[in-house]
């Protein structure tokens, strides 16, 4: 027991009197049980939204990009807004599983699995947009440097859009193997418990024959650590590269050196908000209240406050620099007097309200420890961060260098439909995941039971008194 010492000041991360077997039972319950009516209702709604999105995508590809609300000055609007929004959401997953692993944060263990699932499903959604916003998506494979019959015509490695291809595909594939490797011991647990032959076959296939030898675990932990070390710069680079889609341009409002760190901070901000939203529901419906505790919610809210603070400072410096440059073109950027008072003033003020004002409530301990308040604030941030990307993209493009090109953007039902479709697709995947995957990394939670479990902490405190 002494080897599991933890300072008494630390609150327990696993509540109740749980044994190792209890953890197993709590995690396999949703998988071995049957889905209830609410799950089917939610799944049906998500599926309808997804199918509607598929319809809108097919309509776009069949008819042409002109069915969207874009015009010749605003060539990017909802498509890239949604792309950046979804990529940003994915970032918290990697942050939780990689950065918090490097910092040895034990509280990540109850939330990392779901956060990584969220990453992967969000990057799926993000990955759709670069494809479907192409005028000729069937030539999409031309972005790959494949030897060909055009005298081997290559791609241009100067373009951030090509860097995006490399960044997103690396990010998705590395996140996927990181997630999967972590899943092996948990799939093995379900495999070894399964009584139905079909279920046993499936989990035997998914678990890759994991047996849990001492050597396997030694390698497993090394691989996790090195992958975390690789995923951390990866996650910073991916959103940096996404931000360079804008920052390397010559548009006032986009051409800004602050974008790389600021986009990354915004990504973590919005990603954590999404984790908060999803886990707020999941802990209730999957009966995981003992693992995803008030303390986890508070810690996530603290990360949200920190990154929200960074984002707020970035807004302030963008606003200041727009004025400080003395360039008249900067008067109409997304963070300027022109934006605050112009036709997109509502979008500007929504951003200020949802991203800067509302999250400040988290300074109050009562608020950041409240499940319902955290849930509401997390939704506000998701809305706010969508507006951030929309403002950066649409406001800046609406007033460029030449006043004769000034225009407005109005989304069509197809723009909205595709976005709704990706939300539906995301929830289809997430709902299926919640019923078939071990949503908590049991092998990791079991390692912290003795140091951070409520019961063990009480035992230890009792002993120390005598």
């Amino acid at each position: 027991m002494s080897s599991h010492y933890e300072a008494p000041i630390r609150e327990p991360l696993v509540l109740g009197e749980k044994s190792y077997h209890d953890i197993t039972m709590d995690i396999v319950k949703p998988i071995e049980g049957k889905a209830n009516k609410n799950w089917y209702i939610a799944f049906t709604i998500a599926l309808i939204a997804f199918l509607w999105g598929v319809g809108c995508i097919l309509y776009t590809i069949g008819t042409g990009i002109g069915v969207w609300g874009l015009n010749k000055n605003i060539g990017w609007a909802w498509d890239i807004t949604n792309f950046v929004w979804w990529v940003g959401i994915g970032h918290a997953g990697t942050l939780i599983s990689a950065v918090l692993l490097l910092f040895r944060q034990k509280w990540r263990m109850a939330i990392n699995r779901s956060a990584e699932a969220m990453t992967i499903f969000a990057v799926f959604q993000a990955g759709l947009f670069p494809l479907i916003h192409m005028g000729r998506p069937w030539n999409g494979y031309w972005v790959l440097p494949i030897p060909n019959q055009f005298g081997s015509l290559w791609v241009n490695f100067n373009s951030p859009l090509l860097w995006d291809v490399f960044a997103i595909s690396t990010y998705l594939s590395v996140s996927l193997v990181f997630w999967w490797t972590g899943l092996l011991p948990d799939f093995a647990m379900i495999r070894d418990r399964a009584v139905k032959p079909f279920q046993k076959k499936i989990y035997a296939l998914l678990s890759f024959g994991w047996s849990g030898r001492a050597k396997d675990w030694q390698r497993f932990e090394e691989v996790s650590l090195v992958l975390a070390g690789l995923a951390t710069p990866l996650v910073l680079s991916v959103h940096t590269i996404v931000s360079m889609d804008f920052a390397t341009s010559i548009n006032p409002g986009w051409h800004s050196t602050i974008f790389p760190p600021y986009f990354v901070a915004g990504a973590i901000f919005s990603g954590f908000a999404m984790v908060q939203t999803l886990l707020g529901i999941m802990r209730k419906v999957s009966n995981l209240e003992s693992y995803i505790t008030r303390l986890h919610v508070e810690y996530m809210n603290i990360v949200i406050m920190v990154t929200g603070g960074i984002v707020a400072v970035a807004y302030a410096s963008e606003f200041f620099i727009a004025w400080y440059t003395g360039s008249p073109y900067e008067n109409y950027t997304y963070m300027s007097i022109g934006a605050a008072t112009g036709p997109y003033g509502w979008a500007f003020w929504s951003l200020i309200l949802f991203n800067i004002a509302i999250p400040q409530l988290l300074w109050i301990q009562k608020v950041r420890r409240s499940f319902i308040m955290s849930f509401i604030i997390s939704i506000a941030i998701n809305i706010g961060m969508w507006f951030e990307r929309f403002d950066i993209i649409a406001i800046v493009l609406s007033k460029g260098h030449l006043p004769s090109t000034w225009t407005r953007f109005e989304p069509t039902f197809v723009d909205v439909g595709v976005f709704v479709g990706t939300i539906g697709f995301f929830f289809v995947l997430f709902l299926l995941y919640a019923r078939t995957f071990p949503v908590i990394a049991q092998a990791e939670v079991k390692t912290i039971m003795k140091s951070s479990g409520e019961h063990y902490k009480q035992l230890r405190d009792g002993k120390n008194e005598h």
Binding site: Y20, N156, W163, V177, F178, W217, S237
Partner: protein, 175 residues
């Protein structure tokens, strides 16, 4: 006596397992294998397992990825089609290098991560249709299993293991 007999000692706690491993080691018995439901920290050291070299592999794979990215950008952008795209200099690789940094970085990570994971799967013999080899299904839930080969010393070993708080001790004929 046949030499392919093994003893399985089962424990229900990681600390008890660690003590048992210590006891068996001190009595100079060879431990064939330990199956645990989660990583027990310090177990590999106690068993005397050599440190894994996967991180070194990852570093070399990363270097490979970096070299590949440098070669690819140089070949495609400078050697094969040295074109002027938006005034970007294409006279030599180094003058256009900053634009290649994102690609170089991503490919380094890509190679390092994926090849290391593949190496891990191959070394630990894990793949989709691989049969699991843990002798007791409870070892993925909450049971820790130590496997010790028997060499004409069954009674002595059993007696030793009986002192280690094992929940079950089984002598098994391995085929």
């Amino acid at each position: 006596m046949s030499t392919n007999k093994v003893i399985h000692a089962l424990y229900n706690d990681d600390d008890v397992l660690m003590d048992a491993v210590k006891t068996v080691k001190e009595a100079n018995h060879h431990i064939e294998e330990v199956f645990t439901p989660f990583p027990v920290h310090g177990l590999d050291k106690l068993l005397g397992l050599p440190h894994t070299r996967l991180a070194i592999c990852a570093f070399l794979y990363g270097l490979t990825g970096l070299a590949f990215a440098i070669w690819m950008t140089n070949y495609m952008m400078i050697d094969n089609w040295p074109q002027d795209i938006g005034g970007k200099p294409s006279f030599s690789w180094i003058v256009n290098m900053p634009a290649f940094v994102p690609i170089m970085f991503e490919l380094t990570v890509f190679f390092a991560a994926h090849l290391m994971v593949i190496t891990f799967y191959m070394r630990s013999r894990l793949w989709p249709f691989k049969e699991a080899e843990n002798p007791d299904p409870r070892t993925t839930d909450d049971i820790f299993l130590m496997e010790i080969p028997v060499h004409n010393n069954e009674e002595e070993l059993t007696a030793l293991l009986n002192t280690t708080n094992a929940v079950e001790i089984k002598v098994i004929e391995k085929h």
